[in-house]
């Protein structure tokens, strides 16, 4: 946390492409700082937090951008990661961005709000339960007929990729930023 504050304290805007990282900053940094009993550090954290934006927050809320001019000729579904959904409450921001991508066909994910089962060390400590949750998630992704599953959290994408690849499912995963940066080749 100290290091993070040192590096970013003078930044005008701090953008993270990971909902869970932003959730960590917003939910836990203030708590950690106050626990450290260092008033100066706690104050710096407090000053810094309003300048932290999750990637889609920066685009939609701060910059007012919902159309990036991207081109992505694929059928795409979107998995709202738990932190993006319940901690950051991103709502439909990622989906609005996706729907405005040229040639992209958006398909809604059934039971989208269900956790993919990653949960950090949970995926190793409770590997069997985690794998069962992932199996459910993969079933709903496959049911959409999408060829790409997008999300705003690389950890979930790593998990979903791991399952899809193991099952030899012809579905790719992509971070939303990757899609929004795609152009005509």
């Amino acid at each position: 946390m100290e290091r993070f504050v040192d590096i970013f304290e003078d930044a005008e805007i701090i953008c993270s492409p990971s909902s869970s990282c932003v959730a960590m900053l917003r939910e836990h940094y203030q708590h950690l700082a106050s626990e450290s009993r260092r008033a100066a550090l706690a104050d710096k954290v407090k000053q810094l937090l309003p300048r932290v934006f999750e990637f889609t927050e920066l685009l939609v809320d701060k910059l007012g951008v919902t159309e990036t001019g991207a081109f992505y000729p694929h059928k795409v579904t979107y998995h709202p990661s738990c932190h993006s959904l319940r901690t950051l409450c991103l709502g439909d921001k990622p989906i609005r961005l996706l729907k405005n991508v040229k040639d992209l066909k958006y398909v809604e994910l059934p039971e989208a709000e269900q956790c993919c089962g990653f949960g950090g060390t949970f995926s190793i400590k409770n590997a069997d339960v985690s794998a069962a949750m992932l199996a459910d998630k993969m079933k709903t992704i496959a049911a959409t007929g999408a060829d790409v599953c997008a999300a705003c959290d690389n950890s979930c994408l790593m998990h979903i990729y791991g399952g899809l690849h193991r099952k030899k499912q012809p579905i790719r995963v992509a971070h939303l930023a990757e899609i929004l940066a795609s152009e005509h080749s």
Binding site: I124, K125, M133, D136, G162
Partner: protein, 471 residues
């Protein structure tokens, strides 16, 4: 004091028990179906209330206030209950509660009791204690009856037999009630239970209940239920004994306004529970003429002493977090090894036992937050889970491999030079594990990942290296 939660102390750890549960396809179908139905009903009924979030906040504030003044409210409850003709007993732990209740029954020379659904009595293993004292307890809640007749354990706080389907229940009834020609329809099974129980209601003279709420200002006790069987137990016997956890007290009668609105919607997806029984002490010529309250601590005061985890005691046992939990949805309740299962069980069970047992439970969550989202009293279950994980680590109870891995990670993440060095090491070490450009077979504690998942290897060029080059 010896706080215990049913048989939790001797239960297998969560990952082991969960693995067994995951292999039971029938169990998983039953749990999935039942939780889907209750969840859908809850969602509908909650959406009806424009002030739902305000109700949650009100319930949270009332509980927080009460817990901060618990000593005063408990004494107020005792005084009011005694004034109304009740007797109040204080039990430090499960054994003491069981002894008090057994003693009351024996003082009347009785050998049978009828019971209202009470999780607290499962916590103290009251039925085991009564049976040892040659007293026969009859569960009268339909689901508890199914569990009792099947020599089973509850798997859900609100719906104890959720893991059984109709055909399985019929098998239990056929065997234990000796019924010829028992039909297959829900109505047939309900009628069989009705006949079996009615005879007990009319014959047995001592009833045992728990409580949903104990009202400090009036000394009243409130029990909500769906079947009317609790109402029978609360009104027909001569003697009534209510076993109540000390966290069940609320200050005022008016506070029920908040709790009765949120409880039924959260628990069963109903606007109101079909039966809400509220009584105060004893009334001449009406209902039980002798009324005992046993106030149970059993580890609750140790939970109360923890600033972060205290909110665990807000719980009104609605079970909404179980139905919402993606982990519970996969495993059902038995895997938790405790009568308190799901997210609330994962925080309550280890705490009641002073963090000496059930230490894998705080880790039985992906921290997805679905439990907090539905909790009608706003218990921040994910925060408490993390807090309890830290306690397990501080106690030195995490596995050795994990301790080493965490030390290594802390070292590698302490600066960019170390991080880059660690990346280079992994690039070398991973080589024997990479086939077809993925890692499919991880060693040691990481093997859990590769049971069902591949992993992209650390790439030849990292983002940082690419970024530097680009500049």
């Amino acid at each position: 004091m010896n706080a215990r939660v049913g048989l939790a102390a001797g239960s297998p750890d969560f990952p082991t028990a969960a693995k067994a549960a995951l292999g039971d396809a029938q169990l998983r179908r039953n749990v999935r179906l039942a939780t889907d139905v209750i969840r859908a009903r809850r969602t509908l009924l909650v959406a009806e209330k424009p002030d739902w979030q305000e109700l949650r906040t009100a319930a949270n504030r009332i509980k927080e206030h009460t817990l901060n003044h618990l000593d005063e409210y408990l004494l107020q409850f005792e005084e009011a209950c005694v004034r109304a003709g009740g007797k109040v007993h204080w039990a430090a732990d499960a054994d003491e509660a069981n002894q008090i209740i057994t003693g009351i029954i024996q003082s009347h020379g009785e050998t049978e009791v009828i019971k209202v659904k009470t999780m607290t009595s499962d916590e103290t293993q009251l039925n085991t204690a009564l049976t040892a004292a040659r007293i026969t307890p009859y569960e009268t809640d339909l689901a508890d009856l199914i569990v009792q007749l099947g020599n089973d354990h509850p798997s859900h706080i609100v719906v104890p037999a959720l893991h059984k389907n109709r055909a399985q229940i019929r098998e239990i009834f056929l065997e234990k009630m000796h019924l010829d020609g028992l039909g297959h329809e829900p109505g047939d099974l309900a009628e069989a239970a009705r006949k079996y129980l009615r005879e007990k209601f009319l014959r047995v003279s001592i009833g045992i209940s728990g409580a949903n709420f104990a009202i400090a200002e009036s000394g009243s006790v409130c029990v909500v239920e769906s079947e009317g069987n609790a109402r029978m137990c609360l009104t027909l016997p001569k003697v009534l004994i209510s076993l109540i956890g000390i966290e069940k007290v609320i200050p005022r009668f008016q506070d029920l306004e908040v709790f009765l609105q949120i409880l039924a919607r959260s628990a069963t997806g109903e606007r109101m529970s079909p039966y809400s029984s509220i009584w105060t002490g004893v009334s001449a010529d009406d209902g039980p003429q002798e009324f005992h309250v046993v106030l149970l601590d059993n580890g609750r005061t140790t939970v109360l002493a923890d600033d972060v985890a205290r909110q665990t005691l807000h719980c009104i046992r609605c079970g909404a977090c179980l139905n919402a939990c993606p982990v519970y949805r996969q495993t059902g309740g038995h895997a938790y090894g405790s009568i308190y299962s799901g997210p609330i069980g994962a925080i309550l069970t280890p705490q009641l036992q002073s963090m000496e047992h059930s230490q894998t439970l705080p880790f039985a969550s992906s921290l997805c937050g679905a439990c907090y989202e539905v909790c009608p009293v706003r218990i921040k279950i994910p925060d408490v889970l993390v807090h309890l994980r830290a306690k397990v680590v501080e106690q030195g109870d995490s596995p050795l491999t994990e301790k080493i891995a965490m030390k290594a990670a802390a070292f590698a993440l302490a600066g960019p030079a170390r991080f880059e060095a660690a990346q280079s090491v992994v690039r070398l070490v991973q080589k024997p594990f990479v086939t077809d450009a993925v890692v499919s077979n991880l060693p040691g504690m990481l093997s859990g990942w590769s049971v069902a998942r591949d992993l992209m290897p650390v790439p030849a060029q990292s983002f940082r290296e690419w970024w530097k080059e680009r500049k």
